[in-house]
């Protein structure tokens, strides 16, 4: 078998190794990037990439592609699937359907077509994580991982209530290992607790969450300490309180400030889909953009990163573990609503939504996402996402890239926006345009680094996984700010996508598929402490759960390609 590939003369963008558009050759052997001297050019398959852009495979760190709520979304939206059939081609691809809630197969193919090779599902309740892994196992091509919802977990809350951070850390470490999760996800901290009683909409950072004697602020701080204690690869992944409520930007800033004293040099909080959390004003009618305040704070500190949560005009399916917000959203759409509650762990809601250009609120939302990304100076603090499928499907990333790289592209959309909204936003006056290097940062290197996977993902240095995307773009000839259509076209269909040393996409068409790895974290905890905590957990488990403790744990053999990442801990 010929497993050597040589990519010649491409313009390489590899921010982790500080390579900015240099003409270079990239050598691949046995699924890894290797120094050029190690391969035999006569045996290797040579790809001539002269006049093309070579980047590491894309890393999407926040995309709802698997799990129980995505599946509920699929069930709820048959109309999303009728006319989007991907037909079976024997030996090349399986069939599938869906636009905003695609089948597992379609997820893999569409990401690969755009040159993305790693995708992380950001929210899964621990009890249902077996299902999430089944779906991730069925998702072709991509490497994946899943973040675990912990903010409303009764055990976590009990330990944090007592201030017992060490025991909480041991529990979190066990939970991550037992459910094969990757990081701590916090969604509207504590919201599932009041939601059991039908309350919780607009829960503030300092509101009590009865029956627990604790506030969301304490949950965020507690889990942040746990995260640090366990030395987890990814900082806490926070969806802030009061998401989607006008005037919530203060809560967002407060949340970031709440953990500012816990950081030393490192990033200790990731604010996700920040667009939904940067609203000013007191009601929908006078919604304001507060992207500037958010960006100002983030520019002034080093402990925060964010992802955009950019909205795309058109159909979306909002799905989040912030159940009361979804219920409120349902009353604005009056179409469909799906809700779910997971015993002692989390809740979720699903509402289909359509973003409209002429709608004042939607127009402002569109501007906020881009404003935040453009106003934050350091691209390493920004990650490109649409919070698929909340803001729009991930297949719109090429469009977002074009908006970021070209003011002209933004102006073209701004022309058609709601006129009243335009008076309220700063976007038309922002001149910044991202360079291709910065795009490589926010779509590849940045997220890989944030995930702690920067030794194997998001770069093209020797030792990295051979995940490479080659785009038909010539940075020497094309002026991107003028020709934004070229960017959009190039990123929406990669010339080559190489995953793990195999060519999976050629000229924008899938040629082959395989299955990637699933990463999970194993944090080391002292045996004595772990035994003590597990003893306590087992005792309560029978009382709180409908399944037995022994059936809760997901074992390695249940996953297709499990890949533990061992970290130091308590």
């Amino acid at each position: 078998m010929n497993n050597q590939i040589l990519i010649k003369n491409g313009y390489v963008y590899d921010p982790i190794n500080k390579i900015d558009g240099e003409k270079m050759d990239i050598a691949i052997k046995n699924g890894r990037i290797v120094p050029l001297s190690e391969i035999d050019e006569s045996k290797a398959k040579v790809i001539d990439a002269s006049g093309k852009v070579v980047m590491p495979g894309g890393v999407d760190m926040h995309t709802h592609i698997a799990g129980p709520k995505v599946n509920l979304g699929r069930l709820m939206r048959p109309e999303d699937h009728y006319y989007s059939i991907v037909k079976l081609i024997p030996g090349v691809r399986r069939s599938g359907t869906g636009i905003t809630t695609p089948s597992t197969t379609v997820v893999g193919y569409k990401y690969a077509k755009m040159g993305w090779t790693t995708a992380i599902d950001p929210a899964s309740p621990p009890l249902k994580n077996r299902h999430t892994h089944e779906e991730l196992d069925d998702t072709p091509i991509l490497d994946k991982a899943v973040f675990i919802l912990m903010d409303s977990n009764w055990f976590v809350l009990k330990y944090l209530e007592k201030g017992d951070i060490e025991k909480c850390a041991a529990f979190v470490a066990w939970l991550l290992k037992a459910t094969k999760g990757y990081a701590i996800k916090i969604v509207d901290p504590g919201v599932a607790i009041p939601w059991i009683r039908g309350k919780g909409y607009g829960l503030g950072l300092d509101d009590q969450i009865p029956p627990f004697n604790i506030t969301p602020r304490e949950i965020v701080r507690g889990l942040c300490k746990v995260n640090k204690m366990l030395k987890l690869p990814h900082p806490i992944h926070v969806h802030c309180n009061r998401l989607g409520i006008p005037g919530n930007y203060q809560t967002t800033i407060e949340t970031m400030k709440a953990v500012s004293d816990l950081a030393d040099e490192d990033v200790n909080i990731h604010i996700t889909h920040v667009q939904f959390n940067s609203y000013g004003g007191v009601g929908w009618a006078n919604l304001k953009s507060r992207a500037e305040e958010i960006a100002k704070y983030i520019n002034s500190v080093n402990h925060v990163t964010l992802d955009m949560g950019q909205i795309i005009f058109g159909e979306a399916t909002t799905m989040t573990a912030d159940a009361p917000f979804e219920y409120a959203l349902y009353h604005t759409t009056k179409w469909k609503w799906g809700g779910a509650e997971v015993e002692a762990e989390a809740a979720a809601g699903i509402v289909p939504f359509t973003y409209k250009r002429k709608n004042y609120v939607n127009a402002i939302q569109w501007c906020i996402g881009l404003e935040v990304a453009l106003l934050v100076q350091d691209p390493w603090k920004v990650v490109l996402t649409t919070d698929h499928p909340n803001g729009g499907p991930f297949t719109s990333y090429p469009e977002v890239i074009a908006w970021l790289m070209s003011k002209k592209a933004r102006e073209k959309v701004l022309e058609k926006l709601n006129k009243r909204a335009l008076r309220e936003v700063a976007l038309p006056s922002i001149d910044r345009e991202y360079s291709l290097y910065e795009i490589a940062v926010i779509t590849r290197a940045g997220p890989a680094k944030l995930l702690g996977l920067d030794n194997i993902k998001g770069h093209l240095g020797p030792g990295a996984d051979a995940d490479v995307a080659i785009y038909d773009l010539n940075p020497a000839e094309v002026d991107f700010s003028e020709n934004y259509e070229v960017i959009e076209k190039a990123f929406s269909s990669a010339l080559y996508t190489i995953k793990g040393g195999e060519i999976v996409v050629k000229d924008g068409e899938l040629v082959k598929y395989g299955y990637g790895k699933t990463y999970y974290v194993e944090a080391k905890v002292e045996d004595a402490l772990m035994q003590e905590v597990l003893g306590e957990v087992k005792e309560k488990f029978n009382e709180w759960y409908t399944i037995s403790f022994e059936n809760y744990e997901i074992h390695d053999h249940e996953l297709r390609h499990p890949q533990p990442i061992k970290v130091g801990g308590v």
């Binding site: 709820m76 939206r77 048959p78 109309e79 999303d80 009728y82 079976l88 179409w335 469909k336």
Partner: protein
Amino acid sequence: MEKIYEVILKPKREFRVPVELEVVTPNNFAGKSINEIISQVIYEGNRERKLGELFEVKGEVGESPDNIRIIIENSCNKLWRIGEGMSAGEIIVKGDVGHYLGKHMAGGKITVHGNAGSWVGAEMVDGLIEIHGNAGNHVGARFRGEPQGMGMKGGKIVIHGNAGVQVGLGMIKGAIIIDGDCLEFPGMKMRGGSILIRGNCPGRAGADMTGGKIVICGRVDSILPSFYIESIEKATKVKGEKIEGPFYMFLGDYLASRRAYGRLFVSIPNNPHLKNYAKLLEEGGE
């Protein structure tokens, strides 16, 4: 009168799995030669085929879809999606047809001399479908999961036999006429248009309707409790055709909306068990 070009399709063999014939429309055939038509790709189950592999195609094809008549002979209920999205011309089917006949149809005429499957004229916009046999479920319905406002928007469906459940689900405009009986839930979630059922209906007519008109000339087992008796009418009209009564007229469905104005006409002579409603009217309401 302009010349009508006839194209005749005849199956070459018996089909055991569904054959999807969305390409068989006057719009698609217009301006193509017979050779081009027989090389069109269709699916038999999950296998890709050429139209010519499964059908014998004869006749002439015109430039404009308006004067094309497609005749399908020896048709069977495995032929799906005939006339999908057609906007002009005519299709005549001699035999049965499968599901999705005239789905999203926007004009023209389809005649079936046999029975039809489910989803006849689903989400159609305009045109005429006439079926001389029975039809399946969801005649003129909107598809599952679609938002309000996606139902049948116009045109006319005439079924000379019986129909299944949920006739005219989510209908907005147009007319459905059923000469025989129908099953439960005719006019469910209906917002406009009219449905005429000359035969019987087991009940639950007009569930969740907020507009439009349902006329049932036969027996109805029961009226939903969310409908209120409004008056007794001697006769009513459906698409200009006078239907002799007398009828009880109900308004509803008040569970769907507090300002519902859906009208349900139910024959008085064929429904002696509903005579309590007449008493309610005499007493001047509740």
